[in-house]
């Protein structure tokens, strides 16, 4: 598929406020949206770290009532979404504030659309299948990678089918993102690395996407630059707010890029893998990205070379540079190491092939091609 800058493109971004103390604006924005009763979505880890309380304090200062919903796990389940919807409706909420990583944010998006449409969340699977917009959603990310706070994606796990579903709709783009570096300081080293590589995956896949545009390119390249420069340092200096803020900006840029250009095979395959094996999304991306890059290279060599150049000079391929980068972050496993069985590859490939992210991959991949990529990752 040849790409021209004259091709029609659309760019949607939420309002976002970035900087130290942004979290404390939650109450003001909730009030300005006319929220009277807020559903505060979070997860137990974020709550234990004290960030849910900090947001709750801001809401209380703005004189806004709230109900906390923290029954959210990693790879959030569709049943958790429906449980949240029940709380939202029974408490007569009229807005959602979420503080957390990608899992609480995707769950909060699901709660929003299920509540406004009064339907099971599974019925929205696919693209543009949300007829009624969700209530206002204010996001305070506590990780730097999912970019769910600015994206049109919500990835949820259908436990019954052991697969991840993607809900893609401009109606899922949050209303406001409050990007505060401070909550990132309580992330563990592994979570920092996984989410950082997730942001890198978003940026690389958006840049080589067949739906990329000059606007998304700017954000994608800046995201790659920020990840490569700030992420290793942030792992070494986890309390450094400037480094954390750089990773947060990297995630923001990557989010703006992939929310509009979408992603590709690495994400499609990571969704399939995460759904079947309940693995962390960032880790799945980290283990697959270099192999997808190698498989895709011939479809967009210039773009991949430009990505490789950001990682530094050298004769190795961009994929090899990315592989070296993730190993430098301490992510050294293979799929086999994380417990994936080789006999599951055909099923994983079929599921990945059906994922909506696959349609913007720069190269059209058949199921056999996808199986081959999985095999390389073992």
């Amino acid at each position: 598929m040849s790409i021209s800058q004259l091709d029609l493109r659309k760019f949607v971004a939420p309002e976002f406020i970035c900087g130290y103390g942004a979290l404390q604006l939650a109450g003001r924005y909730a009030r300005n949206f006319g929220m009277k009763q807020v559903l505060l979505v979070t997860d137990p880890g974020v709550r234990a770290a004290g960030w849910a309380d900090a947001v709750a304090e801001s809401l209380a200062e703005a004189d806004i009532a709230f109900t906390v919903f923290d029954s959210v796990s990693a790879n959030p389940r569709t049943r958790q979404v429906m449980a949240g919807m029940e709380v939202y409706r029974s408490e007569e909420c009229n807005g959602i504030v979420v503080v957390g990583g990608g899992s609480p944010m995707d769950c909060a998006k699901g709660i929003g659309v299920a509540s406004s449409n009064m339907r099971d969340i599974l019925t929205f699977e696919g693209v543009d299948r949300v007829p009624v917009s969700a209530p206002p959603l204010i996001c305070i990310p506590t990780t730097a990678g999912s970019s769910a706070d600015v994206s049109q994606f919500a990835i949820l796990t259908d436990e019954g089918e052991k697969r991840k579903i993607a809900i893609i709709s401009k109606a899922l783009v949050p209303d406001v993102s409050l990007l505060d570096p401070e909550p990132l300081t309580t992330m563990s080293r592994d979570l920092t690395a996984d989410t950082g590589v997730d942001a890198l995956s978003h940026a690389i896949e958006a840049y080589v996407s067949n739906a990329s545009s000059p606007m998304t390119d700017v954000h994608a390249l800046e995201a790659i630059r920020l990840v490569t420069s700030a992420l290793p340092a942030a792992l070494e200096e986890p309390g450094d707010l400037d480094l954390r803020f750089s990773t947060l900006l990297a995630s923001l840029h990557a989010g703006l890029a992939f929310s509009n250009a979408s992603v590709g095979a690495a994400h499609a395959m990571a969704h399939s893998l995460g759904g079947a094996c309940d693995l962390a999304h960032g880790r799945c991306n980290a283990l697959l990205l270099e192999h997808v890059m190698a498989a895709n290279y011939e479809a967009a060599p210039d773009r991949y070379d430009r990505i490789g150049a950001i990682f530094g000079p050298g004769r190795v391929t961009p994929a090899e540079k990315v592989a070296a980068f993730r190993r430098s972050l301490g992510i050294t496993e293979t799929l086999a190491d994380v417990g994936v069985r080789e006999d599951t590859i055909p099923a994983l490939a079929r599921c990945a092939y059906a994922d909506p992210c696959m349609v913007t991959n720069p190269r059209s991949l058949a199921c056999d091609d996808i199986e081959r990529i999985y095999e390389h990752a073992f």
Binding site: E15, I17, G34, V176
Partner: protein
């Protein structure tokens, strides 16, 4: 760009606003206004739910229910969810189902603002048929046409109407004349018996006349109303005036009808034609008088017999004759007969006294009005 110089604090606040960090530096959003409108709708919805009438919003194309208020749920015993799964026509009694479907179809086609009203029975979940007065009106929301049906439970009204009809029939079929007037004595209602008693062809011909029309003495009507407003109840005998102009004896029982608060509403009179009874009373009085005279004459007759008999007995006792015993025997028998007649006279007097006492009591047991004019009228 030139700007007025501002104090440093104000300039900082202005700067914050310009870069979108002011307290109310809002991104364009319809949500707060939407929330406000929703709150308004919810208030209106609460009002609709408070009304006793059941309100149904029906999709004109399919006949399915699009919305109902809380009263519809209460009346019919279904939940809102259950009602919204039903066509409206399924709630109608089978006897009127087809007819009402056609009525709604025709009414909705009229796009009338005033609406059409019909009476039909709705069937509740328990199978009870509830008589309803249903007003249907066609409305259009967006591109879809709906029918609003407002159903009012008329169970109480039907029962009240039935009771009123029974009461009205009772009034009409009474053999006594019944008259209802306002507090000034103007006739509001007269039953058939009253009209017939006073010689009017129709009861309607009596309405609007004043009470004075019906008495030989026109002032009696005014006295009756005044007395009623004072004492609230009367019973009196007087002389009525037939429409032909001829007088006749009547007994009037009257009372003031009051509302629950004790305020007088109207006057109700029950009128009986007592001409026949008055004539009988007169005949009885004459008969009693004649009886008295006869008994007195009989007593005198006894004395006229007993005195000579005493002389005869005296003579017979003094003579020595074989017939003396026979004379005394016959005299004794005559005395016994006269004594027996005396005893009969005493008993007759008791009976006459009894008849007079009880006959008169029965003839005027409820006499409350001792008005001299009334007494005079009775004497006549």
């Amino acid at each position: 760009m030139s700007m007025r110089s501002e104090p440093p604090d104000d300039r900082d606040a202005l700067r914050a606003k310009i870069i979108g960090l002011g307290e109310t530096s809002l991104h364009k959003s319809y949500y707060p206004e939407l929330q406000s409108r929703l709150a308004e709708l919810e208030r209106f919805r609460a009002l609709l739910d408070q009304t006793h009438d059941a309100i149904f919003l029906i999709r004109a194309e399919t006949g399915e229910l699009a919305d109902v208020n809380a009263s519809a749920e209460t009346h019919l015993g279904y939940s809102k969810r259950e009602l919204l799964a039903k066509p409206f026509i399924d709630l109608i009694s089978p006897t009127k189902k087809t007819w009402l479907a056609e009525f709604i179809r025709e009414s909705s086609a009229l796009l009338s603002k005033s609406g059409q009203t019909v009476t039909a029975r709705l069937v509740s979940r328990s199978g009870t048929e509830i008589p309803m007065e249903i007003t249907v009106r066609s409305v259009t929301f967006g591109a879809e046409r709906y029918i609003v049906a407002i159903a009012r439970d008329i169970t109480d009204r039907i029962r009240t109407e039935r009771e009123l009809r029974i009461k009205e029939s009772a009034l009409e079929s009474s053999t006594n004349g019944i008259l209802i007037t306002d507090l000034a004595g103007t006739v509001m209602y007269a039953n058939r018996s009253f009209a017939g008693m006073f010689g009017y062809e129709r009861a309607g011909a009596v309405a609007g006349r004043n009470l004075e029309t019906f008495f030989a003495d026109p002032t009696v009507g005014e006295k009756v109303t005044a007395r009623l407003l004072d004492t609230h109840a009367i019973v009196q005998e007087t002389i009525g005036l037939h429409s032909s102009g001829s007088p006749f004896h009547i007994q009037v029982s009257g009372s003031v009808v009051q509302n629950d608060a004790g305020q007088p509403l109207c006057i109700m009179l029950i009128v009986m034609d007592i001409t026949e009874r008055i004539l009988i009373d007169q005949m009885k009085r004459e008969t009693y008088a004649q009886l008295g005279k006869n008994i007195e004459q009989f007593a005198i007759l006894g004395d006229h017999i007993r005195n000579p008999l005493q002389v005869i007995v005296g003579y017979a006792e003094m003579i020595d004759d074989s017939l003396a015993g026979k004379i005394l025997e016959q005299s004794r028998r005559i005395d016994e007969l006269v004594t027996e007649l005396d005893r009969g006279w005493v008993e007759s007097a008791n009976v006459r006294h009894f008849l007079r006492k009880h006959g008169e009591d029965r003839d005027s047991p409820l006499q409350t009005d001792t008005d001299s004019s009334t007494l005079k009228e009775r004497d006549t």
